[in-house]
């Protein structure tokens, strides 16, 4: 099933952990190669999942969890949402400047 659904309550559990210092990065689907940052700690580079961010990333924007070669799929919700227009490193901000 390609469809993303938050049917389970896994998302809320993420937030029950104390001390919100490292950033919350949400991976929607197990095959995704990006995560979505869902807090406003733009200057913080550490995330709870252990991913080190290489750019300041705003609320709702994405970071790469794997190296993505130019032309390779950017995957979110388990589907190809776009292609890398230049090589993307782990922790890079993924957006219109390197994906279309």
């Amino acid at each position: 099933m390609l469809r993303y659904t938050t049917a389970d309550d896994s998302l809320p559990v993420l937030f029950r952990k104390p001390r919100c210092v490292p950033r919350i990065a949400l991976q929607v689907h197990p095959s995704d190669n990006v995560v979505t940052l869902i807090d406003a700690l733009v200057d913080e580079t550490r995330t709870r999942c252990g991913l080190a961010l290489r750019d300041p990333i705003a609320f709702g924007h994405k970071a790469a969890t794997r190296t993505i070669a130019e032309g390779e799929s950017v995957i979110k919700y388990g589907v190809t949402i776009g292609r890398a227009t230049r090589p993307i490193e782990v922790g890079d901000h993924v957006h219109v400047h390197n994906c279309c």
Binding site: M1, L2, R3, Y4, T5, T6, A7, D9, L11, P12, V13, L14, F15, R16, L26, V28, T36, I38, A40, A58, F59, G60, H61, K62, V74, K76, Y77, V79, T80, I81, G82, R83, V94, H95, V96, C99, C100
Partner: protein, 402 residues
């Protein structure tokens, strides 16, 4: 001896306006419909004079403004007429003044509206003696109809009498995580209770074809919807621009959405898990309860107009970054889980879901919160868009305008 007759868990319902033909309204609007742009200013001045005379505490006249009508080719002219007709006879309209420019158009509308249960007075500007006279006559017509509305009372109605329009605006990551899936939960419940739900914005299904296939009642419905998506995509790319994967709006991009497919996958979270039961044309009423797809442009004032013309009495509007849009005829509930938007635009948000994002409630509770808000609004509570008088009607055109 007394016997308890209170059911353990009564099905939800609301106090609505039951029309003579059985349709149910959640509002009892006095509408002033100008059928063509030529009559809009006189309609505006008439509504202002009428509202001022009625004073504070009364609902203002609901104005529906026509645009073209003239200079349109067959299909477009027919759609303008059809949508205006559907809005005049919408269940949330208690009575309507229809203001035309010329006499023959007025005669046509009188014939068209014959047999409708909604009380309608049709006027033609050209029948009067000066602008002031036209305004006075329009105000007189509004006054006569207002008297008819006064005694109308709300009665208890079952939830299944409702049709909902689903819409996204200002989509961002929070839309996909909070407002859309919360609305999806509500949709599952609404469909289980026998209501009708319409989702539209064909362009925002591009990339979601597999979801449509997996979630249609049968293959025929899936193919009809996918054919509309493909047609829209081919039109969007006909100018050589590569829209697919590059066409979220500028505010979507600022909010972090990179491609149209990403936006689509988030938007699809609002349909819940019910199967599509039909594929509708712009403004076409649902043929059966359940979830229906409607082929519309993606711009929200236009797509909502299509779903409201179909008879939706309430609009659920999922919002990430702020978007003021709403529909004046079908009260629009703004649902939002973006903490920044909720803190900055609290006077424009009806259902805040920041606690869903923060993990203090789960999706079931969020869906329940949407349901409670919907029942309140169905029973007469005002939405923010209603209190601001926000809202637009927009009828699409496909052919050249002459």
């Amino acid at each position: 001896m007394s016997t308890s007759i209170i059911a353990a868990d009564p099905p939800p319902g609301f106090a609505g306006y039951i029309r003579a033909d059985g349709r149910v309204g959640v509002r009892n609007h006095l509408a002033l419909v100008s059928t063509v742009a030529l009559a809009n200013r006189i309609a505006e001045l008439s509504a202002a004079r009428f509202d001022a005379a009625r004073g504070p505490g009364t609902d203002p006249v609901l104005r529906i403004q026509g645009e073209f009508q003239r200079g349109l080719q067959t299909a477009d002219a027919a759609l303008q007429d059809y949508v205006l007709f559907r809005l005049i006879s919408h269940p949330n309209v208690g009575a309507a003044v229809v203001l035309c420019h010329d006499l023959s158009t007025a005669q046509r509308w009188i014939a068209r509206l014959k047999g409708q249960t909604t009380s309608v007075l049709v006027l033609a500007v050209m029948a009067y003696h000066g602008i002031n006279d036209a305004i006075t006559q329009t105000v007189n017509a509004l006054t006569a109809l207002a008297a008819l509305l006064k005694p109308m009372q709300r009665d208890w109605c079952g939830f299944s009498r409702l049709t909902f329009a689903l819409e996204c605006g200002g989509s961002d990551a929070s839309s996909a995580i909070c407002s859309n899936p919360a609305i999806g939960r509500f949709v599952d419940r609404a469909v289980a209770l026998g209501a009708s739900v319409i989702v539209s914005e064909t362009a925002e299904f591009i990339g979601g074809e597999e979801v449509v296939r997996a979630q249609s009642a049968n293959g025929d419905i899936a193919e009809r919807i996918i054919e509309r998506i493909a047609r829209t995509e081919s039109r969007m790319t006909s100018d050589g621009d590569r829209y697919r994967g590059t066409n979220p709006t500028s505010e979507n991009i600022e909010a972090g959405l990179t491609t149209l497919v990403e936006k689509t996958m988030g938007a699809l979270c609002k349909i819940g898990r019910s199967p599509f039961v039909d594929c509708l044309n712009f403004g076409q009423p649902a043929t059966q309860p359940g979830l229906s797809f409607m082929d519309t442009p993606f711009f929200s004032p236009c797509s909502i107009t299509g779903m409201v013309a179909a008879g939706a009495q309430i609009t659920l509007f999922s919002m990430g970054v702020f978007n003021p849009s709403g529909n004046p005829l079908a009260p629009t509930l703004k649902v939002c889980g973006n903490p920044d938007t909720v803190s900055r635009w609290s006077d424009g948000i009806d259902v805040a879901l920041v606690d869903l994002l923060e993990g203090r409630i789960n999706l079931d509770a969020a869906g329940e919160r949407v349901m409670e808000a919907v029942l309140g609004v169905a029973g007469g509570e005002r939405t923010h868009t209603e209190s601001w008088g926000e809202g637009q009607f927009m009828i699409p055109r496909e052919l050249p305008t002459f």
